[in-house]
């Protein structure tokens, strides 16, 4: 974890959970796996506070624990997960666009609380919606549950691993920490609950004084009922949201490059392979042209031939977003996810260079990208830019690490006068460097 990332994590933790949790969290990021007592000793906080802070962090999936030999439980921080906290508003907004206010509130509750049972979520969301509705109207639990089920079906929320039910063998003492397991199939299985009820409005303020002790006692009695889905916790599935963002980016890229119809086709293809394709696959499941035709949105009156033409056009495009993998079923097409993302990253790099250094620099940058390795003289020739300016720009970009130098010695002693120096762009490292800069900027 880079320094900038650690600093950003510490700011995020401080904003969301306070200073104590921040201290413990940053310590764990810096030092890796640690048992409880060592954490307390190194951070010089009381054991009680360390325990509370760890409980909060585990609840929000920011820290995981593992049982090591000799029964020692070690805690490890998940730095990348902490950085995702930056994106919470974007996740909530996405849920709003897909599932309206109900979905938005469900995702918001899940993100704010880490993990929750379905009944608790439904209840809270119904209460919140009821408050915003007009007087006299209340939100039914069934509507909220339906939205929850839809979110689970499209994998936006998933079940947390459950405590493995090992038989309690009497002679052996219970393990120091429960092992959490989750079956792939069960991850999106919604328990059969019959949640009947309506959202409750909070009492108006003048009744508060008398209402509070009564309300407290009422809740106390209510909570005695056993919850039907006790132990089944749900969390927001961030990977699925990322997949959605990726799909959106690809679709808008296609729309910019070609036209609206082709972007709709690509969007349909992506939607069909949402659930069947794992999130880090290089390309989607092959889809036949007939299937695509059937799944196109109703409003589009695109005939089969036109669709085929579009698909051929997309497959022949030099950007290679869509590839043809076979001819059965009218032509099998796949979307090259990795290639698409790589070209999107490159395009971002290019635009950054253009904005930072000017369009001539951008020309040089694109040139080096295309030709992979170039000597200084070749750069001047190909870009048709006078030598002095070209040198100046190259060195500027070199100093900012967008371009790197590759030495190829002619002689074994690497004498500078007799080696080639080639300029090249390593997309991966340049992209990582940009990301690092973004992290730095957001921590300020």
């Amino acid at each position: 974890m880079t320094q900038a990332e650690i600093k950003l994590c510490s700011l995020l933790l401080q904003e969301h959970f306070g200073e104590i949790v921040e201290k413990i969290g940053v310590h764990l990021i810096r030092t890796g796996c640690q048992p409880l007592r060592v954490i307390a000793h190194d951070t010089e906080t009381s054991l009680d506070q360390v325990k509370k802070a760890l409980c909060v962090l585990i609840q929000h999936n920011l820290v995981i624990y593992q049982v090591h030999k000799r029964g020692v439980v070690e805690y490890e921080a998940q730095c990348s997960r902490m950085l995702r906290m930056l994106r919470y508003p974007r996740y909530i907004y996405t849920a709003k666009t897909l599932y309206n206010d109900t979905g938005e509130l469900i995702v918001e509750e899940l993100l704010l609380n880490g993990k929750m049972t379905m009944s608790a979520v439904v209840k809270k969301v119904a209460d919140r919606l009821t408050e915003t509705m007009e007087d006299g109207k209340t939100m039914d639990y069934t509507e909220v549950s339906n939205t929850f089920v839809r979110l689970a079906d499209t994998h936006f929320v998933q079940r947390c691993p459950i405590v493995s039910a090992t038989e309690t063998a009497e002679p052996t003492p219970p393990p120091p920490a429960p092992t959490l397991v989750i079956n792939e199939k069960d991850m999106y299985l919604v328990p059969k609950l019959s949640l009947i009820g309506k959202g409750k409005r909070r009492r108006s303020s003048d009744e508060d004084a008398a209402g509070e002790p009564k309300a407290k006692r009422a809740k106390h009695i209510e909570s005695k009922e056993p919850i039907p889905d006790d132990g089944i916790y749900w969390q927001a599935n961030l990977d699925r949201f990322h997949q959605h963002f990726r799909d959106q980016a690809i679709v808008s890229a296609v729309a910019n490059r070609m036209d609206q119809t082709s972007s709709e086709i690509v969007r349909t293809m992506l939607r069909m392979s949402e659930i069947t394709t794992p999130s880090c696959a290089p390309f989607t499941h092959p889809l036949s042209s007939n299937e695509i035709f059937r799944s196109l949105p109703v409003g589009y009156n695109v005939s089969k031939q036109v669709l085929d033409q579009y698909l051929t056009l997309l497959a022949d495009d030099p950007l290679e977003f869509v590839g043809k993998s076979g001819d059965s079923g009218g032509g099998m097409y796949v979307i090259n996810l990795h290639k698409a993302l790589a070209s999107l990253a490159t395009a971002t790099l290019e635009s950054v260079v253009q904005e930072r250094f000017g369009s001539r620099c951008a020309r040089i940058f694109r040139l080096v990208l295309q030709k992979k390795h170039l000597e200084q003289k070749q750069v001047e020739d190909f870009a048709m830019i006078p030598a002095k300016e070209a040198k100046d720009m190259l060195y500027k970009m070199l100093s900012e690490n967008f371009i790197s130098l590759q030495e190829i010695p002619k002689t074994p002693d690497h004498a500078p006068s007799r080696t080639f120096y080639l300029y090249t762009v390593t997309v991966l490292s340049a992209a990582r460097m940009l990301l690092h800069r973004c992290y730095k900027a957001s921590s300020r």
């Binding site: 760890l54 919470y88 508003p89 907004y93 704010l112 405590v163 930072r356 002095k388 500078p416």
Partner: protein, 221 residues
């Protein structure tokens, strides 16, 4: 290395033309101070994207920042105790929900150990009893014992009250409730065993916390 090893002679070890200066050109001035902190750039940054969705997301972010401070997960740093307890502080306490985690999902060492503390208190008393009786100063020791028992009675009564209060505030039902109930019963039993006094001597009830500011009443008339 091999080549020009002229000591003191200004000779470059690499081909100067490759860098961009031909022989005899004036080298750029030597810079003696650090570069400016915010240098002027020729190209100004592109303006931020604004639009309906971006504004909504921004509004969400502001709301989120406010909301997280009120959540039970936000642990406030305990303030230092002030010399004089301010009157207004008591009435400005923000009502915050208690959050009890699901202990079944956490390692066992996470649970706050209340039982041990309560268990050790009466045993400590027993030890001091034994210890003091050995030294053979009966009257003084009896007074100390009585004061200790009184002190213990007050403290454990207070803790009792707090656990009851937190139980009521508990909105989500978790397994901890059973534990709390168990501990409470345990305390009461201990109380009855150790104290010679009747429990109702200290009629604490709901007024106990409120009256803590007043001088400790030696006796209620």
């Amino acid at each position: 290395m091999a080549g020009n090893r002229g000591r003191g002679r200004a000779a470059y070890t690499f081909n100067i033309e490759a860098v961009g200066f031909s022989r005899g050109d004036k080298l750029p001035d030597v810079v003696l101070k650090p570069p400016p902190l915010f240098p002027d750039t020729d190209y100004k940054p592109v303006p931020l994207k604004t639009g309906e969705s971006e504004e909504y997301i921004l509004a969400l972010k502001q709301e989120l920042r406010e909301t997280v401070k009120r959540m039970p997960y936000f642990m406030e740093t305990p303030e230092e105790k002030q010399d004089i307890e301010r009157y207004s502080k008591r009435y400005m306490k923000v009502y915050k929900e208690e959050w009890i985690p699901d202990w079944r999902r956490l390692p066992r060492e996470m649970m706050p150990r209340k039982k041990c503390k309560k268990g050790s208190k009466p045993t400590k008393m027993k030890d001091t009893d034994k210890g003091t009786s050995l030294t053979n100063t009966a009257d003084v020791l009896k007074k100390i014992e009585e004061l200790e028992k009184k002190g213990d009675g007050e403290k454990s009564d207070e803790e009792n009250e707090e656990t009851e209060g937190s139980k009521e505030k508990n909105k989500e039902d978790e397994d901890d409730e059973d534990d709390a109930a168990e501990q409470e019963e345990y305390d009461e039993e201990e109380q009855e065993e150790e104290n010679d006094y009747i429990n109702s001597y200290f009629d604490n009830g709901d007024d106990f916390g409120v009256d803590s500011d007043d001088n400790m009443d030696e006796a209620t008339y």
